[in-house]
Each structure stands twice: as C-alpha cells, then as structure tokens.
C-alpha cells in the first residue's frame, strides 16, 4: 500500500493518531517505583530502515540496494526491521510501541550540533549546559537517582547532582584513607564536582568488574533499577548509526546497531523483576533520521525525521503513533528527508511526566522553557 498523509489519517489500523491538546496534569503518587531508561542512538538512526512503511513503490525504488528482504510485521502500514526481535516480542505483548516521523526541532544535519541539542533539549547548539533529562529529574527532586551506562557522564543527564555511572574497568580502589585525603583536598580547593564525584565512588554499591558491552551493562542496570532504593533513571548509548556507506539491509552496519539496541532491552527485560519492568519505560533518542534516497555508496546521508522506540510496562499499547507526512517529493523535508510532524520533546516531556509523576506543564516550563509541546502521556503511556 502506498500511503500519503491524508489517506493515512483516515485509514490507519493499529496505528493511533496524533492530536493537539493537553492531557490532565498528573501528580505525585505513592505507588510503586517507576523507572525511565533513555537509549541514545548516535549517528542518526534511519527510522525508515528500522520501521519501514509498507508498499510504497517509490520508496523501495529509491532504496533499491538497501531495502529489507524480510521484515517483521507491526501494523497494516508499517513493518519492523528483523534485527529487533526483542522489541517485536514486547510489541506482541503490548509492551512495545513507536512514534514515527518525529525529531527534535533541529534541521541542520550536523551530528555534533544535533547530538548536543537532542541531549540539551535546546535550540541553539552548545548554549545549554544541562540535559533535558537532568533538568526533569531536578524538577522531580530525583537527586542521586541517575545511572549512566557510559564512561563519560552524558550531557543528557546533567543538571541534577550525584548521578552515577557504570562502565567497569575491573580493578581495586585505593584504600578508604587515601580516598578521604583526596576528598579533603577537593574540599580545600573548592572542587565541588570532583568532590561530589568522588563521594559517589566511595559510597556506591557497584562492583568494578564485569564487561562493558551493552548487553552486560543492561543486565547490571536492570538489577539496579529493580532495587527499591536503586536508581530511577538509566541512560545508554549506542554508536555507529552514521551509515554513509555500506548501510546494509537485513544485515549490515545499521542492522548491527539496531541489534545493539535490541540487546539492551533484552538485557533489561531479563534482569529486571517483572514488577520493575511493569513500571519501566524505555525510550530512544537520536539526532536525526537519514535521507530517503540511498547514495552511490549504498548508504544514506543525514536527514531529518526519524522514529522513537518505546518499550516497557508503562507503554500504553502496541502502536505506531504518527501523523504520517508522506514520502512524495513535495512531502519531504527539503525534498529529501522524511519530515518530522511530532516534536520529539513532546514524547520525552510526556515520558518524564508519566514516570516521575510530575505535572506535564511544570516540566514543559522548567525543562523546555515553556515551549509549545503537546502532552502525549494519555496516548502513549499508562498513567
């Protein structure tokens, strides 16, 4: 089937629609601990490779060398890349969903500006020094409840103090006395961030051993997130989506990256208690999508609109939520990219509102400077 925007709005099946408007404010509850996991897909995830639209001959022609020869079925209008096996299993249990034709409001096509903005949530690269997730946690009072599964502390989670990270190196720490002397030196020199960081090192309940592969990190994170007093937020990174050459199709570079994402959700699912997974939301984030058309290197160039994967027990239902813009030339952004019809920040603000039990409007104001975002909580997530 070849769908355009108008048809799609009329005929979509499992796919829900996007309507403007605010949902009811949510408020703090005393319910079970809820977790938010954000997986950053760096390099520009090709939403049309991950969740291809069905039956669009023109699209297939433009990607003759990188079309998928087999797919998993999602809806009457969209398929799924076969590398996303765990995601499909979750989808089948109403624990997986996607938002399509979405992106942060950034059209510059630079990875580095784009990644800065996807993490900061701002509009001018490098202007904001904190991340939207960090500011959201601060608004929700979640100090010391963030865990980054990465070696540096991602910008995304900065803005709230005492975040931890885990990327084991496999060695023993020096003695407590020595660490205390260093801590005192940091204090004497008024080195707040270093002091705070060392305090975490000295007090945390994490082993320094283990693998730093994403599946293993996910397993450890899953255990931590399941603890009643464990972190409530985790952040992962998957690199390598920038496939200018040899993107591959069912197998290949992009498929490997999608598999890496899939292994993270698999690791989380396996390691978490069922109660914890039921109260967890896993969302993805990328800087932009990729061009509709393949290039002569059997890759794709930097684009605009992409897709967001949602997984976990807090997903409302299996759906591809979209206001599909169409893939005709005139419907593309600058004649070459999938358009973005949903501000991805609406999804993230709604996710934080749901998981942190904080009023959407408060997050909109405190995290995204009161910008015109839509509350999608009711459509995408369980209250």
């Amino acid at each position: 089937m070849k769908i355009n925007r108008r048809d799609f709005l009329k005929t979509t099946a499992l796919t829900s629609l996007y309507f403007a408007g605010f949902g009811s404010p949510t408020f703090a509850t005393d319910g079970p601990k809820k977790n938010l996991v954000v997986i950053m897909l760096r390099g520009g995830m090709d939403g049309l490779c991950a969740i291809p639209v069905k039956g669009d001959k023109n699209f297939e022609k433009l990607r003759s060398k990188i079309n998928l020869d087999k797919t998993l079925k999602l809806t009457s209008d969209f398929d799924l890349h076969p590398a996303l096996k765990t995601f499909k299993r979750l989808w089948d249990q109403n624990l997986g969903a996607a938002v399509h034709a979405t992106n942060i409001p950034y059209t510059g096509r630079s990875h580095f500006d784009g990644q800065n903005l996807m993490e900061s949530g701002g509009k001018i690269p490098y202007q904001v020094k904190t991340g939207w997730l960090g500011r959201g946690m601060k608004t929700a009072g979640l100090t010391g409840e963030g865990l980054a599964l990465a070696l540096p502390m991602p910008l995304l989670i900065r803005g709230v103090s005492m975040n931890n990270n885990y990327f084991p190196v496999g060695d023993k720490l020096p003695s407590k006395t020595t660490l205390e002397l260093i801590q005192q030196a940091y204090k004497d020199h008024d080195e707040k961030l270093l002091g705070e960081t060392l305090k975490i090192v000295m007090t945390r309940d994490l082993k320094n051993s283990g693998s730093d592969e994403n599946w293993s990190l996910a397993s450890n994170a899953g255990e931590q997130l399941s603890k009643p007093n464990g972190p409530r937020v985790a952040v992962f990174e998957v690199d390598g989506f920038d496939t200018h050459a040899a993107q591959g199709a069912t197998n290949g570079a992009h498929a490997d990256c999608l598999s890496d994402y899939d292994r993270i959700i698999s690791g989380l699912k396996q390691a978490m208690t069922s109660e914890a997974f039921d109260n967890t939301l896993i969302v993805t984030l990328t800087e932009f999508g990729r061009t509709i058309k393949q290039n002569s290197s059997n890759g794709t160039e930097h684009g605009y609109g992409s897709a967001i994967f949602l997984a976990g027990g807090l997903v409302k239902k299996a759906q591809v939520h979209t206001d599909w813009p169409g893939l005709k030339k005139k419907e593309l952004f600058e004649g070459r990219d999938l358009n973005s019809t949903i501000d991805a920040r609406s999804v993230y603000a709604s996710a934080m509102s749901t998981v942190f039990d904080v009023d959407f409007k408060l997050l909109q104001k405190e995290v995204f400077w009161g910008e015109g975002l839509q509350n999608l909580s009711d459509k995408l997530f369980k209250a």
Binding site: R42, G43, S64, K65, G108, R109, S110, H111, F112, D113, P125, K129, A148, L151, P152, M153, R158, N164, N165, Y166, F167, P168, V169, D171, K172, L173, P174, S175, T177, T178, L179, L181, I182, A185, Y186, H189, E191, L193, L194, T197, L198, I200, V201, R204, N208, D239, D242, H244, A245, K293, Q294, N295, S296, S297, G299, E301, H302, E334
Partner: protein
C-alpha cells in the same frame, strides 16, 4: 606559575631544570619540526598501509572464500593473518612514539600542539584505521605541517589516504560526471551520487564551523568540488591505493560555496580550501579550539582576539598562531586552570614521575611480524583504552572533547585512581624514595610544602598510594 609547564606541555621531569623564563621556553619550541625523538624503529605510512592492504585482501579475497563452510578454521586463520600484518602491535608502537615526544623530546610544547591538531583533524574509530593508519597519519600529515600554513595543513589532511577513507570521499561520484553515464551504472542500477560526509566535516570540523551559516546546498556544492578525490582502487590493492584525482568521477560545471564560484577540475579543492581558511569564522573557530584546549572551557573574546589577529597577519602561518595562543595562555595562566584530559594527565604522570614509559625501544623493536605482541608491547594501546581516551579511537569524527565536564564522572575518576596506583609499578628503582618525590613536587608545584604535607602527614596502606595522592590532587588534575 609552575602549572604553566603542564598546561602547555607535560610538566618538568626530575632531571630537567625549571626554565627561568617559561614563556620564552615555550615559544622557542615552535619554529622547527625536528626529527622524532623515538630511537626505535619507525615505519612509514605506506609500509603500514601495505599491511592494511594485506589484511583486508587476505580476509576478503582469500580466507572468506577458502573457509566459507568452516567458521572455526576461518576464525583461526583470520587471527593468524592479524598477527602476520601486525594488527595488534602498530598502534602501541605509534602511541609510544607519540608519548616519547611529550616525555623525552626537547619540544614537549610542540608535542602537545601536535596532539591538539591530531584531534582537531581526528580520524575516529572506523574499520582498521586505528590499527594501521591513524598513528602514521598523525606523524606524516599533521606533524610536518606544524610549521606550515593552516591552509596547507587542511589541504594535506583533506587529500590524505586516511581522511579520504575515514569520511568516504572515494564513494562520492558527481551526478553530472563521466562515470554517471557509464553503461554499467544503468545495468547495475547504481546511479552516480555524491557522498556528503567529507564535505560536511570539512566545513564543520576542519574550517569554518556551523557558525559560518552554510546551507545544505553549500554542503552539496562542496561535495561536488570534492568528487574525484579518491583512493586509487585496484583488484590487487582494493581501497588501499594512493589518493588521486579521478576526473571521471568529478562533477562537471561550476560550483558555488558560501557565495563564491569555483570552476570544475582538480584545482577546485585547493581554491575552495583557500577561501574557507580565510573565512573569518575559520579564524574564530581555530582560536576558540586552541583556547579551549589550553586555557578554559569558555574562551573569551579577549583570549581569542590575539590568535585571530596572528592568523590574519601571518596568513595562517601555524607557528605564529601557536605563539599567539601560548602568549595568551601565559597571560591567563593564573586566572584559569584547565582540567587535563586523561591522556594529557597520563603523559604528565609518566614524565613527572620519571616512569619507565613508554615501553623501551628494545621492547618495541623486539616485535616480530607473525607473532602475537607481548603484554608489554601492547601496554600503550590497552592502558589508553582503559583510561577512556585512546587518541586513535575517538567515537566520532569530531574527536575527543576538550570540555572538562566530559571527563568527570565516577568511572573516569576511578580510572585515574587505578592508574595512579598502578604507576608505582612503572617507577625506576632508583626513584623509589622520598627525596625523589620532593624533587618532582618542587619542580612542578608553586607551594610544594603543602603537597608534600598532604602526601606524607598520614600513613598510607601501600607505598603506591602516595602516587594516588599526588596524581589525583586537584592541582595535578588541573593545569
């Protein structure tokens, strides 16, 4: 003031005198690019690229066919091929050469700037570039240009084999080129299209930066100018042939980048680079990056202006740009302390602590092709990887960050604690005494008594923990 020696280099070793005029000491190191101080074997980029060729050819054209039905044998023979081509050794040798410049050469300031430009024009982790090519690229393309113009540096980088491979320019073909109308393209349904990757990074990372306000059309037009610059592909050498200008891939017709017109042909690239490096945003970008590397995360206009002026006045002559940057660094030395990146910190630990580092030339010369490198021969690559700052394995083409906060996290701090502890095992036996520590602290700190008191007033569980204290003291982490 003594922090200046670490800020612009790697500190003062125990057998060196503290220069009485630090700025002159630094400025005197910039005009010439001397031979590398490493006394062991050094291999040319072409020799190492031949090993790259042997590996990819052997794997792709021989082993994959020969063992297509036997995964175990394929893996075994692929491993043999890795060692036959030195895949696990070269980057450790290159890091040894690199660190030796910082530790044992007479031009450590130049070495620190070499590292800056290597990261400015980063080759990130892709294919086997780190294993065979990034080290020699930094030695043969970046380093000889440290006393040339920025324009020449950009041109040499842009047309280097490593960068062409890194940013896919060989794959770029003009839609209006000779090759575009070739019969095989119609038959195989492979129309000629550009690959924008290299053009975009030439604008964004290597010259004017996004602040110049270029458009998508500028990127496309620059990619057109760059079409034809590619690796000379052959059945024998695959993608490892020398870079050349293949006019058959070149987009015909005039191009327009940032409002300037360029004729078709090979010279287009040199012409557009000349204009890009003379763009005001390029000068500002270079000044910003140098200040951020040397002085502070947030360079001010006051800091950048002298560097911008020197760039303009000297027509981008790098020694003059470097001198201006060092003068500004000296001027602001007291006010700003820069958190040192892990590799910079590690080289400082090695130099100031007079460690047995890098591995000796005897150890590295003993490597034999075809054999697995020894543990010591692989130390450099392994240690930097574990520190989280391997200079040839940045994750993306923008290289490693110069922002302090990107290097502060519990895990990154843990690594400095571990490696400071471990540094004790690299101490020369004759230095394992308090007098030595007093000497190095005196050489490198303005208030040595405070540091020594901090190190010695309390008992430590193991002697190695004194290294942990010294190398994790806030005055050591920053310079």
């Amino acid at each position: 003031m003594k922090n200046f020696f670490r800020k612009v280099a790697f500190g003062i070793g125990p057998n060196e005198d503290v220069p009485s005029d630090p700025l002159k000491w630094a400025l005197d190191q910039l005009d010439e690019v001397p031979n590398l101080s490493w006394k062991g074997k050094i291999y040319s980029e072409k020799e190492l690229r031949k090993h790259y060729r042997d590996y990819v050819y052997g794997d792709r054209k021989v082993l994959r066919k020969k063992y297509k039905d036997n995964k175990t044998l394929y893996k075994t023979h692929k491993n043999i091929l890795r060692h036959k081509t030195g895949q696990k050794f070269w980057e450790s040798l290159e890091i040894s050469i690199r660190h030796n410049e910082g530790i044992n050469s007479k031009n450590p300031v130049l070495a620190k700037l070499w590292m800056f430009w290597g990261n400015f024009f980063a080759i990130s982790h892709k294919d086997y570039l780190a294993n065979y090519s990034t080290g020699p690229y930094q030695r043969e393309i970046i380093r000889p240009n440290l006393n040339q113009s920025f324009e020449k540096m950009v041109y040499d980088v842009t047309t280097s084999w490593a960068m062409i491979h890194h940013l896919d320019n060989s794959e770029s073909a003009g839609p209006k080129s000779v090759t575009a109308s070739e019969e095989w393209r119609r038959r195989k349904k492979e129309p000629a299209t550009i690959n924008e990757n290299h053009a975009r990074e030439l604008l964004e990372l290597h010259t004017v930066s996004p602040k110049a306000g270029y458009t998508q059309e500028d990127v496309i037009q620059l990619a057109y100018i760059m079409t034809g610059w590619q690796q000379r592909w052959s059945k024998k050498h695959l993608e490892t042939g020398n870079v050349w200008f293949n006019s058959e891939y070149h987009q015909l017709g005039k191009k327009n980048v940032l409002g300037k017109e360029y004729k078709k042909g090979k010279k287009g690239l040199a012409n557009v680079i000349r204009d890009l490096v003379n763009h005001p945003n390029c000068r500002d970008f270079v000044a910003e990056r140098l200040c951020r590397y040397l002085i502070t995360d947030e360079p001010t206009k006051e800091m950048k202006q002298p560097i911008i002026d020197a760039f303009k006045k000297s027509d981008g002559y790098l020694p003059e740009i470097h001198k201006a940057a060092l003068k500004v660094t000296f001027e602001f030395n007291k006010k700003y302390k820069k958190f040192q990146t892990p590799e910079n910190w590690f080289i400082q630990v090695a130099k100031i602590g007079d460690l047995q580092w890098p591995p000796s030339k005897e150890i590295m010369n003993a490597y034999e092709l075809g054999f697995k490198p020894t543990r010591k021969q692989r130390f450099p690559e392994k240690i930097l990887r574990r520190l989280g700052h391997h200079p040839y394995r940045a994750k993306q083409p923008n290289g490693w960050s110069d922002h302090s906060e990107d290097w502060i996290s519990p895990e990154l701090l843990i690594r400095r604690l571990f490696f400071a502890d471990r540094s004790y095992s690299f101490i020369k036996p004759e230095n394992d005494n308090k007098e030595f520590i007093e000497k190095i602290v005196n050489n490198n700190f303005d208030k040595p008594d405070l540091i020594l008191d901090y190190m010695f007033k309390n008992m430590v569980h193991r002697k190695s923990e004194r290294n942990v204290l010294l190398f994790n003291h806030p005055e050591f982490l920053k310079a």
